[in-house]
């Protein structure tokens, strides 16, 4: 179990860059907890504190009963940390990297092979290749293997899927789901809102603060506004037009659609007619279920 209370962290000469403004949350055993937010929201600072790499200015974090500040030596034994950037030795081979980290933790690949078998098997054919020559997805698998080789109780993964192709991303989340079944606590951060659904619970973070913590469904259920999608051929012009409409509270481009939140009084047909009158003939307006991203937008607006 992870219990984080009121973490503060600031940087800069006058501590003027505030990365975390009192973050609190708990993660239960056997849970995948996602910290979701844009770049610069404070995800990496939070994870580096939990990995005992930097000290918080104030607040506490207890991981499976160990304080990250006082018991940092124990923390390093029980966590597996994977930084956002690929941080293994590029000039060592796949196998050498894995063996290196196993040895530093006083174990061997053979002893804990069962933990990484599923993942490592996929890169084992390339075990003599230098880590620097691996593809993005394979690097990810190697980094995860190295983070798991000492049988950690808690996995801390900082943006593990950034810069990885969609297929590898899906594979990666499947691997996390299997690890979760083995009883690991997994703390993962991402900037991709669509990955939220793969977590048991998520926290939305913005500018160093958690703005919501719940299950993905709970976050969606809490969404109170009226959400529609608008589809049409001249999207950027439509977006411009929608933003000028006084009954529309917000409008964002979402792939091939525009998501809008509107005042209770407005009807979909009414808006459609309004747009057709403005010469957008092929336009279509219909209500939709909100996604986590819609919730994030609503919460930060």
């Amino acid at each position: 179990m992870i219990e984080v209370k009121n973490l503060y962290k600031s940087y800069g000469r006058a501590d003027n860059i505030i990365a975390l403004k009192g973050v609190s949350f708990t993660v239960n055993d056997g849970e995948i907890f996602g910290v979701i937010g844009p770049d610069g929201a404070g995800k990496t600072s939070l994870f580096r504190i939990l990995a005992s790499l930097i000290l918080p200015d104030s607040g506490s974090a207890i991981m499976n009963g160990h304080d990250v500040v006082k018991d940092y030596k124990t923390i390093r034994q029980i966590i597996g940390y994977m930084p956002g950037r690929f941080s293994l030795y590029q000039d060592l081979s796949v196998e050498e990297n894995l063996k290196f980290f196993a040895t530093l933790f006083g174990t061997t690949i053979e002893e804990n092979y069962h933990l990484i078998k599923d993942i490592y098997r996929q890169i084992e054919p390339f075990k003599n290749r230098r880590a620097g020559a691996l593809s993005g997805g394979m690097k990810q698998k190697l980094a995860l293997s190295c983070a798991l080789i000492h049988k950690p109780e808690i996995l801390i993964l900082d943006e593990p899927t950034t810069g990885v192709d969609p297929v590898s991303r899906k594979e990666f989340w499947d691997m996390l789901a299997r690890l979760k079944e083995q009883g690991l606590i997994i703390l993962v951060s991402t900037a991709y809102m669509d990955e939220a659904g793969r977590c048991d619970r998520i926290a939305l973070i913005k500018e160093g603060e958690f703005i919501a913590t719940d299950t993905p469904q709970g976050i969606i259920d809490n969404y109170s506004g009226v959400l529609w999608a608008v589809q049409g051929s001249r999207m950027s012009v439509i977006l411009h037009e929608l933003r000028a409409h006084h009954l529309i509270k917000s409008s964002f481009a979402f792939g091939d659609k525009i998501h809008i939140t509107v005042d209770e009084g407005l009807q979909a047909e009414e808006l459609k007619q309004y747009l057709i009158n403005k010469n957008f003939e092929d336009v279509n307006v219909f209500p939709i279920e909100p996604t986590v991203e819609d919730c994030f937008m609503a919460l930060t607006n």
Binding site: L55, K73, Y89, E96, L104, G106
Partner: protein
């Protein structure tokens, strides 16, 4: 222990997978010792000289021939007057002007005494000073020669009076470096320079490279303690430094026949103590730097100070007292002096033990600092 061994193994793997470093370790000492001892020398040779000979006589001709025959001088021109010689000097075509008076022959034969005027371009102080010294030597030689010849032409009573003038000859005996070979003096210095560059710069770039590639994050979340980590960083450079020193010693012997007149063991032991201190110094810089650029700039800056104030090129005893204070804590100056003592003076391990102790203390201090300044969390 097992972990240190494994960490060292990893350092060596990385070192030897770098296409440049293993070659540099072997080629660097050979190239430096092959090229620099010839080029970096305070011997002044080939000074260009203009002679203004107003006499154009037998004796003046002999003096000019004597100067031109010297390995120190090249007779550049014999202009008709001082003014045109001065013009040459101002153009940088000549370094020195010797003016021989019109009455040179007459003076010598009649008065047994004459004067030549020497003007030296002393923009380069060493060249100016040594050049005028060499000229004086040549002129003195010349006058002794003449004196011996002229004595025979004199009537006996005058000869006796001349002979009675006491004459003092200084015959210097050059100890320790009998051939006055500047290379013998400089080569031990170049060995120290090599060790400083290789064992100072490589460690300085090492940890900061792990910071830049992010691998330090992965190391820092492991339970490896920092003494083990720093030792594992240092030991490979100690081994590399020793290899560089052995290559240097043999290169110096094969190229210049220079072998320590003292104990070879003392040479290697002092080198090792020096390597300990300089590699610790490199790691300190690496610990305090965030980027490779910072680290390389810092290490270059400090190494320059170590070298220039280290007595390799200019003797420490001639420096102002603040510089001598720096030399007292500069491992570079200790090893330069130690190696010269062992190579040239034939010193033994016991003779240099004081300097070794000083270097060992510096090494202990720097390595302790290197361990303490390495923080596993910020």
């Amino acid at each position: 222990m097992k972990i240190i061994k494994f960490l060292i193994e990893k350092e060596f793997k990385q070192m030897f997978r770098n296409p440049l470093i293993p070659r540099m370790i072997v080629m660097y000492p050979i190239m430096v010792l092959l090229v620099f001892p010839w080029a970096v020398s305070f011997e002044v040779k080939n000074i260009k000289i203009d002679v203004v000979d107003h006499g154009k006589s037998v004796y003046s001709k002999r003096l000019i021939d004597k100067m031109a025959a010297s390995k120190y001088f090249i007779l550049h021109d014999t202009p008709p007057d001082y003014k045109s010689a001065m013009f040459n000097m101002e153009n940088g075509d000549t370094d020195m002007i010797v003016e021989i008076p019109a009455t040179f022959d007459k003076d010598i034969v009649k008065d047994k005494n004459s004067k030549v005027r020497v003007a030296v371009n002393s923009v380069n102080g060493t060249q100016g000073l040594l050049g005028s010294n060499y000229i004086m030597q040549i002129v003195n030689d010349f006058s002794s020669e003449l004196r011996a010849e002229l004595i025979n032409t004199l009537p006996p009573q005058q000869r006796a009076s001349l002979m009675s003038i006491p004459q003092v000859d200084i015959i210097p005996k050059y100890k320790y470096n009998p051939g006055l070979d500047y290379k013998n003096f400089m080569i031990p210095g170049f060995m120290v320079l090599l060790l400083t560059l290789i064992c100072g710069i490589l460690p300085a770039l090492n940890i900061v490279m792990e910071k830049e590639s992010g691998t330090i994050n992965q190391i820092n979340v492991t339970p490896v303690n920092r003494i083990a980590f720093i030792l594992a960083k240092l030991i490979p450079f100690w081994i590399v430094g020793l290899v560089v020193m052995i290559i240097s010693v043999f290169t110096a012997y094969l190229l210049y026949g220079l072998w320590p007149t003292g104990s070879i063991l003392a040479v290697l032991i002092s080198a090792v103590v020096f390597i300990l201190s300089i590699s610790g110094f490199g790691l300190i810089i690496s610990n305090y730097s965030e980027t490779l650029q910072q680290a390389s700039f810092l290490v270059m800056f400090f190494i320059l100070i170590l070298i220039l104030l280290g007595g390799m090129f200019t003797p420490v005893s001639g420096m102002p007292s603040w510089a001598q204070l720096i030399a007292a804590i500069n491992p570079f100056s200790y090893l330069t002096e130690t190696l010269r003592m062992i190579y040239l003076n034939g010193s033994t391990l016991a003779d240099v033990s004081g300097k070794l102790l000083a270097m060992a203390l510096i090494a202990l201090f720097l390595n302790g600092w290197a361990v303490l300044s390495y923080k596993k969390r910020g």
